[in-house]
Symmetry: C2
Subunit: 585 residues, 2 copies
C-alpha cells in the first residue's frame, strides 16, 4: 500500500514537472481514441505510465525517444486467448506476438489449471514482471470440463474460483460451457455470482446458441461471445447485450465475414472486440496477431480509428480496466505502438510501460521464463503400467465395438459400430482398415486408470504416437498399431515429463518435450516450430496423412464434443454425458 | 448468497419459460442501445429484471402490460447529483424526478456525511428498497471540506472511505477538490487508491483547471468532470481521458453550449454523460430532469438514439454497472421509460425493476421515507450560548474589520476592509450601509465554538435569519442586524432540529423545519416549495432583495471558495487556508 502511495505521488510529481521523468517520447502524432482525432505531441512517462501530454513546461527525462513524426497508438489487446495451446511459454510467444503490437492478452489458462490447479495457474500467469506484454486472467470456469468422467491434476471448484477472483490480475470468469447455464447447474451459477459480486464480468462461449438460448445466457450474466461466425449471429448477440469478439484464429477465420456485415449494416462498433482464441505461431509470424484483425477491418473499409479502437480501448472497457490501459492519456500505462501511418498496421516500435520491447518486427532482447520445478514435473504414470493394461479383453473370435472417427480439421467426431477380430482373448486393431487403438492413461499418479477404445483417421501403418496434451484433462493419450509401441511412447513422456512422441518398432523416431505442465516447451518459438515440423514429417513417414497429427490426437478424446470421448475412466457418450460400453451388445 | 443463487436460478427458469414470469410488457418498440436501432417486441420480467426479449415460446406472466406500440427506452441516469441540496428526502424528490424518467441517480451525499458521518450517509442512502428510483453512492471524498478549520458532526477519513467503498452501492470516490491532488495530500491519494484497489472510479471536479493541471488530475486517476462550461474545456478533458458530464442545473446551464460544440465538431458521444448536479425542484417540475438534457440535445440536432445513450448506457458504463442497468437486454433491471416517440422526451410510463412507478407525469403512489430518530436529532447548541457570545469585542471608538461581500448569484465573495463603530467595547453593525453581523455557531454539541464576522449583501433592515444548512460543515449560520434576534433564531433551530428561520424583534416570522440532518424536510415536494416561497416573502419584507436568501446564507461562510470564509473557529482566508484576524492591524 505504501509503495502504491509512493508511486502515485511520484507520478503526480512527474506530471507536475517537479521531478525528472523516466522517458520523454517526442515528435509523435497521437491517436486520441476519445475524440477520434490525431494530434501532434509528446508524452512524459514515469513508473511505466503516461503522466503528461504536451506539457507547457520544459521536460526533464532520463531518456528521450524521438518518434520521428510517427503515429502513436495504444498497444493492441487480444480479448480472448488460450496461451498453452501455442505450446510456448508466454516468453516464447511474446517473440512473435509483441512485435505485431499486442501488449495485452486476456488469457483463459484452463489447460494448466486442469494439470495443476491454482498453483499451476498462478505459476504460469503471475510470473509476468519480466514479460514484454501484459496478461490478465480470465478465471477458468470449467476445470474439470467433464466432472465425474475424467481424472485431472487440478480442480477449480467454487472455492478455488472465488479465491482466484480476488487476484488483482483476474478480470472475469472464463468462458462458460452454455449447457451449465441452460441446465442451471448450481456450481456454475455460484461461479458466476463470484465474479458478479466483485463487479467482474463473465465471458461467454455461445457457440451455435439460438435466440431463446441467448436470452437465457444473457440473463445468467454472460456478457461476451467469441463464437459468432455470421453477421446475423453477431447482431443477435449485440442486441441482447452480449459483446461480440471478432475472432481471427488459425482455423476460425471470422473477421472478413463479420466485419463486412458490420460495415454493410452501419453497425456501431463500440461493442466489438478482437481476439485470436487459438492462432498457430507460424500464422502469427507470417500475417500478424491482433494487428491482422485491425488490418482486415481497415482493408474492408472501416475507419482506421474505429478499427484500432476495437483492438484497444473497447477491450479495456469491456474488462473494466480502462483506467489502466486502452488509450494514450495520463494515468494509463505507456503501452504504445508506433506506426508509419494509420492504414498499415505494421509496428515500427512497441513499448510496454514506457520501455521499448520491440522494433522493426523483432523483440529487442531475448527473454526466458523462470518457472518453478513443480511446473516441470507433472507426469507420474502408474508403476503397474504395462502393455497388457492397454488391451481390451473379449470372448469369442469377433467383437462389435464403437469406433471414434476423426474429421481431419475439426475437433468433433462421429461414431460407427464395427466388427474387430478377437485374438487370444483381446480385441485387435485393423491397420488395413485404419482402425487403431486409442488409450488415455491417467498421468497424475492418482489412480493409474486407463481407458482404451478404437479410432479411425490416423492411418498409421506401424508404431504409435503419444501426447501429454489431451483436452481438457491432459492425461497421456496414445494412438497406435500395437500396445507395445503405445506403452513405450507413454513411457518416453514419463521420462521427459510430457510432450509429443512418435515410436516405431520400439524406437523413438521423434520427440518434442513439453515439460511445463506437459503442455508447453521451454524453448524459443522458432525452435519449437522447427521441431514440430520435423516431428510431423516422422509421423507422415509412419503413414499418417493428417496435417497436424498431434493436434488431432490432443482433441480426439475430448469428452465434451460430439459424438464420442475417451478418458481414463472409459468411453464417453457426449450426448448422454456418461460412460458407455466399448463393446456393443 | 443463497438468496442470490436462488434469484439467479429463478431468473434463468423464467428466461427459459419454465416458471411463470412476473410481468410481460407487450407491444413496444424497443430501443436497442447496442445496435442503435429500434425493433418491435415484448419483454419478459422476473425479479425486477428483464429475462427474455421476444421469446419464441408462449409467455405466462402474473401481469401483462400493453405497451400500445410505444417506444421503450432505458430509464434515465443522473451521473452526478447532491441530493440534500434539494432540501427533500429521496422520497419527496422522486415525486418530481421519476415522472420525468430518471430511474437512477449517482449521489454524492457529502452534506449528510458532514453532519453524521458514515451512520448518516448509510441511513439516508441505504433506505432505498421502497424508492421508485435507484441510488448509487459516490463515496464523499471531502468530509470535512476544510480539515482543521471547522468543526463537523462527521468525518470521513481514509478508514471510513475505505469502509464505505466496500458497500455494494458504492461506485466511486466522490468529486475530489483539485487542490488536494495538485498539492499531493497523502490523505486524498489514499482515498483515490481505496477506490482504485476495488476497480471503482474517481469522480473529478476540475473547475477551471488548465491543460497542465488536467494532466496532473488525470494522472492521479480522476476520470470525469462536470464543470466544463465551454466546448474547448470539454474537448480538452475528453482528450486526456476525463469523461465529460454535461451539466444542466438551475444556475449552471451548460447543455446548449456544450452540445452545440460537440455537434459542430462531430465529436463521438460515447464519453459524454448527463447530470444535474444541483437543480431546484421547481425547475425540475417545470422543464424536466435528465429528460431535459436529452431533449436539448435532440432539439439541437443530435441523433435521438445517441442522445438517449448519453443519458443511459454511457453513465452505466462509466460507473461500471452496465451489467445491471443502462440498456434493455436480458439480465438488466427492468427500468423502462415508455415514450410516444423518439423525439419528445416526455415519459408516458416509467417502470423501476418491472414495477410501474409513474404514469402521465405523476408517481402512481405516494411514498414516505422512514428515517431513524438519530437522523432527526442533530442540533445541540451549547447551553452557554447567549447573545453576548456573538459580540465582537474591540477597544476604542472605531475598528477596521474585514467584510465579506456577497455576489448575488454566486458562491464566491470578495473582501473589503471597513471602519465600524465600537460601542460599549463591542463592534457594531452598520445597517444603513448593509454591513450586518454573520455568525457560525457550532451545533454538534462538541465545543460550543462561535465565529463571528461582518457581511454585506443581505440588506436586512431588522431582525435575523438562521440556517442549519451551512456548507459544508453545516453548523448554524446566522445573519442579522442584532445579536438578540440572531440568538433567538439559532435557538429556534435548536428547538426544531434544523431548518431555515426568520426572526424579527424577538418574533419568529417564518420557519421551514429541515429535521433530517438539519438539511432536509420530511414533507412532500409541493409543500416544501410553498413553504420556501412564503419564507422568502417574509425575508423580502425584512428588507432583503436576494432571490434566494437562504441559499446565499448557506454558502456565504463556505471556507473553500474565495475570498473569505467563516466557520465556528473564525474568519478564514481561503487563499492561505488559515484563520485570520477579523480586525485589521
Amino acid at each position: 500500500m505504501d509503495k502504491q502511495l509512493q508511486s502515485l505521488a511520484d507520478e503526480i510529481q512527474a506530471a507536475s514537472g517537479n521531478i525528472v521523468a523516466d522517458m520523454h517520447l517526442t515528435d509523435v502524432r497521437i491517436l486520441d481514441v476519445y475524440t477520434e482525432t490525431v494530434y501532434p505531441g509528446s508524452m512524459v512517462i514515469k513508473n511505466g505510465k503516461i503522466v503528461a501530454i504536451n506539457p507547457s513546461w520544459s521536460v526533464q527525462a532520463k531518456q528521450v525517444f524521438d518518434g520521428q513524426g510517427m503515429l502513436a497508438v495504444p498497444g493492441f489487446m487480444d480479448a480472448h486467448v488460450h496461451i498453452e495451446t501455442t505450446l510456448l511459454t508466454p516468453e516464447a510467444l511474446a517473440s512473435v506476438t509483441v512485435p505485431w503490437g499486442t501488449t495485452t492478452m486476456f488469457v483463459d489458462a484452463m489447460e494448466i489449471a486442469n494439470v495443476l490447479g491454482i498453483k499451476g495457474l498462478k505459476a504460469l500467469l503471475n510470473n509476468t514482471a519480466n514479460l514484454p506484454f501484459r496478461i490478465f486472467m480470465e478465471v477458468p470456469s470449467r476445470v474439470p470440463t467433464a466432472p465425474g468422467l475424467e481424472t485431472t491434476g487440478g480442480i477449480l471448484g467454487v472455492e478455488e474460483v472465488d479465491q482466484l477472483m480476488d487476484d488483482e490480475m483476474a478480470v472475469s470468469l472464463g468462458e462458460l460451457d452454455p449447457s451449465k447455464v441452460l441446465e442451471i447447474k448450481e456450481e456454475y451459477l455460484r461461479k458466476i455470482l463470484s465474479a458478479k459480486r466483485r463487479n467482474k464480468i463473465c465471458n461467454g462461449h455461445a457457440i451455435g446458441l439460438d435466440w431463446d438460448q441467448l436470452n437465457i445466457y444473457a440473463t445468467a450474466g454472460l456478457s461476451d461471445d467469441h463464437e459468432s461466425v455470421s453477421y446475423e449471429e453477431l447482431a443477435e448477440r449485440l442486441r441482447l447485450g452480449i459483446r461480440a469478439l471478432i475472432r481471427e484464429g488459425s482455423t476460425e477465420r471470422n473477421a472478413n465475414r463479420l466485419i463486412s456485415g458490420v460495415l454493410k449494416h452501419h453497425l456501431p462498433t463500440e461493442d466489438l472486440l478482437f481476439c485470436t482464441d487459438d492462432k498457430h505461431v507460424n500464422d502469427i509470424a507470417a500475417e500478424g496477431h491482433i494487428s491482422y484483425n485491425i488490418q482486415r477491418a481497415i482493408d474492408l473499409g472501416m475507419d482506421p480509428i474505429k478499427a484500432i479502437k476495437i483492438g484497444t480501448i473497447n477491450a479495456a472497457r469491456h474488462f473494466r480496466i480502462d483506467h489502466l490501459l486502452g488509450a494514450l492519456s495520463p494515468g494509463k500505462f505507456a503501452d504504445i505502438v508506433l506506426l508509419k501511418d494509420l492504414t498499415h498496421i505494421r509496428p515500427e516500435y512497441v513499448f510496454k510501460g514506457g520501455l521499448l520491447v520491440a522494433a522493426n518486427g523483432k523483440l529487442n532482447r531475448e527473454i526466458t521464463g523462470d518457472y518453478p520445478d513443480f511446473l516441470k514435473s507433472t507426469v507420474t504414470l502408474s508403476p503397474e503400467l504395462c502393455p497388457s493394461v492397454l488391451s481390451v479383453p473379449a470372448e469369442g473370435n469377433k467383437a462389435k465395438v464403437r469406433v471414434i472417427n476423426l474429421y481431419p480439421d475439426q475437433i468433433i467426431n462421429f461414431a460407427t459400430e464395427e466388427w474387430l477380430d478377437v485374438v487370444d482373448g483381446v480385441i485387435t486393431v485393423n491397420v488395413g482398415d485404419d482402425v487403431l487403438k486409442l488409450s488415455v492413461i491417467e498421468r497424475y499418479g492418482k489412480n493409474g486408470q486407463v481407458g482404451s477404445a478404437f479410432v479411425r483417421g490416423f492411418k498409421l501403418k506401424s508404431g504409435a504416437l503419444a501426447s501429454s496434451v489431451s483436452h481438457d484433462h491432459h492425461n497421456i493419450v496414445t494412438v497406435g498399431t500395437n500396445d507395445q509401441d503405445m506403452y513405450i511412447a507413454a513411457g518416453e513422456l514419463d521420462k521427459c515429463q510430457g510432450g509429443f512422441v512418435a515410436v516405431d518398432n520400439g524406437v523413438v523416431k521423434g520427440i518434442l518435450p513439453l515439460p511445463i505442465g506437459g503442455l508447453m516447451s521451454c524453448d524459443p518459438a522458432n525452435k519449437v516450430m522447427q521441431e514440430i515440423d520435423a516431428l510431423n514429417r516422422v509421423v507422415r513417414d509412419m503413414g499418417s496423412e493428417l496435417p497436424s497429427p498431434f493436434m488431432s490426437l490432443s482433441f480426439v478424446s475430448l469428452p465434451t464434443v460430439p459424438e464420442l470421448g475417451l478418458t481414463d475412466k472409459g468411453l464417453i457418450s457426449v450426448k448422454d454425458h456418461r460412460i458407455i460400453s466399448l463393446v456393443v451388445g
